[in-house]
Amino acid sequence: MPDLLDAPLLDIRGLTKNFHVASAKNGNNVLCALDRIDLHVNRGETLGLVGESGCGKSTLARTLLMLERPDAGTFRFDGIDPFSLKGKALLAWRRRVQMVFQDPFASLNARMTAGEIIAEPWMTHRDLFPTAAARAERVRELLILVGLRPSDAGKSPQEFSGGQRQRIGIARALALGPDIIVLDEPVSALDLSVQAQVLNLLNELQQRLGVAYIFISHDLSVVRHVADRVAVMYLGRIIETGTAEQVFERPRHPYTAALMSASPRLDAVEGRRQRIVLKGEMPSPLDPPSGCRFRTRCWKATEICATTAPAPTAPTGEPEHLAECHHPVQRGEDSGLLARAS
């Protein structure tokens, strides 16, 4: 990936993660969850990570949080390889990457108060707010920051609605002052009217605190609204990446085009549109197709796709808009008609 931007906050190259599974299928017991991932995140920006279940999004998120150790590749966070850290240095690093989970009902301990939940990270990172008074004051500030009342600190999670619970989860993630927050489907469990409130809060916090987000979601309209840049994953690889505008307005990989086409659209009532409906399902990661991984479902696949894995290429004038495809979708191409011939 061409390095046009100064020192990204997070820069990973060739990141690979294999899992060894017991049941051998076709004599293969290695599941390649992440296959030579290149990715960077700049300070204060939002990277949208898009893909269907089983594509490796969650493994990538877990690796970024150091919950998985990669098998290969380089991992640089602000110039440091966190996997080389130990002891106090590692503990200090962990403050800088935090996470917000999908389910605000399962991710908050029902036997703790909101205040205790937000303060819990400081039980591990004791030097941040050593006195009870300092912790109480910071909990107060965080509650106000995420749009709750200071008096809410004494309530238990059951007393809050889904949207309010997600605010508590966000306050907990902010408690250690991270540089980057991994948001794993943060609004998909929320009702639409509440979802907009939480998205607005995330946007406001980013502008005030300069925190970077990795926003994992299957909802393309949400990603489009929040992301500066987008990475699309399929079977353990990032098959297309670029600015949100490039990827959404001019998708180059057929899978990206199909994903966008398959998402229902509110303006569809004007007339039923032609959709790209992909054949079949994502192949098993235990037995990925040869060559291009998407070829078994692709309407543009030819001989070369089965024999040669496509290298990432960018169109002239847009060097950061990379896609791994031998036959990228051209502007104005009527992909709908092509796809229907299944």
Binding site: G163, V194, S221, H225, P264, V269
Partner: protein
């Protein structure tokens, strides 16, 4: 994608736009230790053959409870306390559970959100698919299995002859949903209730499943009641929509008209909350607050606490659904003001 092996049906195909289901004034109460709660209040709508009507709303609005009441699948603590559910001339709400059994399958099919819990893990899918034919048509186990294979091919499951002996966990989420749909349409029902049929699925699989439902609807002219929280799915798939809030239908009408010019402030608020066309960094319009709890539904209008147009009248008097022309209805005192605003 699908092979042309329509299951043979005894009844002639209904034509389009016949009234299949008419729900009128449906009330569902839930008994709780805190007292009786009204989960569905005075809900009325009509499902026409060959058409899809969507029940749209957020969690807890009563849309699934309405579906369960129609299908007779309410939890023991909930019961229908008023209204009629008229399916092809019979009031289902007045039947005993035993009498209802005759309707489940030949007249009414239902598809649930979570196919893994809806299917029985200890029987093969062939056994479960064939059940309808054994019970309602009196077919032998062997003949029922042949029917199951035919159905599996019909809903686009590859190699049905070998897959018929597999168990539910051996299928992917999308394939399980196809099996559930196959079970629901096995006896060519006149009405199909689809309760969040694609919510657990990825978008590319969702597109496949919605295509399948549309193909089946076209073939047999069944009426579909689509229960969902997804505005865009309603825009793509439904002909008419009934928007529910806190147990009440607050707006009803053709999807295109309702979505392009909503008459109820809640419908407008929902549509404005969708992040479509909003620029990166723009604030989305959101609805303040959250829906009322069932034990805390206000007198007057159910939406008053979140409504920008609420006035004294809304606090004292609950607006009834009133016709506003072009087949539309709205329950709002100030719908004309909303059009101006």
């Amino acid at each position: 994608m699908t092979t042309d092996t329509r299951p043979s049906s005894a009844a002639p195909l209904p034509t389009e736009d016949e009234v299949v289901l008419e729900v009128s004034g449906l009330d569902v109460d839930i008994r709780t230790p805190k007292g009786t709660l009204r989960a569905v209040n005075d809900v009325s709508f009509t499902a026409l053959s060959g058409r899809t009507i969507a029940l749209l709303g957020e969690s807890g609005c009563g849309k699934s409870m309405t579906a369960k009441a129609i299908a007779g699948l309410l939890d023991p603590v909930a019961s229908v306390t008023g209204g009629e559910v008229n399916l092809s001339g019979t009031d289902l709400a007045a039947l005993t559970p035993r009498q209802r059994l005759k309707f489940a399958g030949p007249e009414l099919g239902i598809v649930f959100q979570d196919a893994l819990t809806a299917l029985n893990p200890v029987y093969t899918v062939g056994t479960q698919l064939g059940e309808a034919f054994r019970i309602h048509r009196g077919l032998s186990a062997k003949a029922a299995k042949a029917k199951a294979i035919e159905l599996m091919g019909h809903v686009g499951i590859p190699q049905p002859e070998t897959r018929v002996d597999s168990y539910p966990h051996q299928f992917s989420g999308g394939m399980r949903q196809r099996i559930l749909i196959a079970m629901a349409v096995a006896l060519s029902p006149r009405l199909l209730i689809a309760d969040e049929p694609t919510t657990a699925l990825d978008v590319t699989v969702q597109a496949q499943i919605m295509d399948l439902l549309r193909d089946l609807r076209t073939e047999s002219h069944m009426a579909i009641v689509l229960i969902t929280h997804d505005l865009a799915l309603v825009a793509e798939e439904a002909d008419t929509v009934a928007v529910m809030y806190a147990g009440n239908v607050i707006e009803k009408g053709p999807v295109a008209a309702v979505f392009s010019e909503p008459h109820h402030p809640y419908t407008k608020g929902l549509l404005d909350s969708v992040p479509v066309g909003a620029e990166r960094g723009d604030d989305l319009t959101s609805i303040p607050g959250s829906p009322p709890e069932l034990h805390d539904i206000p007198r007057g209008c159910v939406y008053q606490s979140r409504c920008p147009l609420a006035s004294e009248l809304c606090r004292t008097t609950r607006p009834a659904l009133q016709a506003t022309g072009e087949g539309r209805e709205v329950a709002c005192h100030f719908w004309k003001e909303l059009a101006v605003a």
